[in-house]
Amino acid sequence: MSILFLSLKSLRSRLFPVSLCVISLAISVALFLGVERIRQGAEDGFTNTLSKTDLIVGARGGPLQLLLYSVFHIGNPINNIRYDSYQRYVNNRMIDWTIPFSLGDSYKGHRVVGTTEDFFEHYRYRGDSSLTLEKGKRFEGIFDVVLGNEVAKKFGHKVGDSITLAHGLNSMSQMQHKNTPFKVVGILTPTQTPVDKAVYVSLYGIEAMHIGWESGTPDEGKLVNPDKLNKEDINFSQISSFLVGAKSRIHTLRLRSMVAQDSEEPLMAIIPGLVLQQLWQLLSHIESVLKLISYCVLGIGLLGITITLYTSLQERRREMAILRSLGVGPFKITALLLTEAFSVVFLGSLIGLGLLYLCLKILGPYLESEFSIYLTGKIIMTSDLYVLLSVCAAGLIAGLIPALKASYQSIRDGLTTSA
């Protein structure tokens, strides 16, 4: 008790350097935990871009590529799937639902995704979040379009606006589907996923705007008059990929091998969670760099304690001699310095933790909307406790050098200090 009393009094007398030490350690701890949180948040945000989908089916190729163009709107499908193949799977008894995607067009640099009602019905992200409309309704007519939130915001579109989609994904030198303008009927609520960055039309819309484009360029004579077109007139030929929800988890693997062995068309099915995880692994060196940096930051914070205590020892020789004369042994001198180090680390860690929670509370929503870093809402985590304990233990080690030095010094000096 008397050691604690002395060390706290001693720390208080050096309020300024000690506060600096505490603050620097608090920042270190907050950064250390913050980096880990952001990393975790980024991973969660990333791997939860798509959820509840058991399989993604597409033309045979690279699994990563299939994932990228189906979910992240990056890259292009090399091959499409015949619509009748898709129909075979829609009717499969092991399959609960499907969401078809037909890709290949764009709107001012944003992907146009042809899909069906099922998209609104079954698409899930981040656990069990489903898509909702911020304004308007789902597409019904052939030339209805629903905008992702970011697209709507970026171009200031409102429900009722008329937009022209472009043929192909290259935003430069592209041909516009001028004869088939689309009407904005709905705007999705923000999801913080790639869903926000695309526009959605029905499969009818995709087929309709390509009538007369069979050669790859518009054939003036064959172009349709949108007003005279009925859904019954439209035949689906192909889609790019489709998402599958299996009736039960057990069916997923069977479906996957069934797709892989499809005798009619070379197809491939991937388990999105698995491939997302693989993709994240590719980015893991960034993760290690982040970790390394946060370890360095923490190390420097702890080193600060060693330095502060160590540099104070010379001027504290007198104090040690007095304590020795009062019966305090070298062991207790060590304990005194260790208690000081520990108090600084403990206080610094607590403040750091508080700082982190405050920052997460304030910055969390911003990080979520700007960077899709989803901080899971759980601000306080039990793992923090382990980090805190480790930091306190590390603080004791940081204090050990000055503590042993003080003890050694006090043995050598005894009651006499020439200083």
Binding site: L6, R12, S13, S325, G327, F331, T416
Partner: protein, 227 residues
Amino acid sequence: MSNALHVIEINELSFSYDAQKEILRIPHFKLEQSEKCFLYGPSGHGKSTLLNLITGVLPQDKGSLKVLGCDFLTTSGAKKNNLRGQKIGYIFQNFNLIPYLSVKENILLPARLFGRSQSWVDSQKECDELMEKLGMTEFADIKPAQLSLGQQQRIAQARALIGKPELIVADEPTSSLDEKNTAEFMKLLIDSCEKKDLSLLFVSHDLRLEKYFDKSLSLKNINEVQA
């Protein structure tokens, strides 16, 4: 035990930091209970070494040294620390006080650390009395740095005296004080030691202080190693 006749008893004590150079060799020295001994010791005669040995801070190597009934040759460092904390009051030449503790906290420190054979409440009561006697009551809560040297030494004396120590060791406590403060300090010290029936070993190079003591010795005479 502590009721032995001799508070300090030295027989053929010798000490050297390294084998070549002996610093101290004292054939015989005794301090009896309630005795107040003046030890004349200009620097360079092994004064610091002797005080470090007597207080048990420095481990003894040759000969016999008994303090307060404790044979230091066979006593562990921890026990010696304990003995010093409990029963020996030590006064330095100057800078006696812990800078980050208030006057009151400084005086109470031995009681806080080792109890000094009385309850905390009694110690606090005694501290208040000591401060009053020293005329320091109004300074109870200030830091030592704000006090004059004379005041600081008086606080140091109060700290050495608090509780029930049996031996006071003073290492030139008046050397940085002027005549008036020295006289005051000495009067208070002798008076308190007599009242508490304490033994006092007072080392100084100021022979004018000799008059306050029962016995006067010169370190030069008791230490056979010459500077």
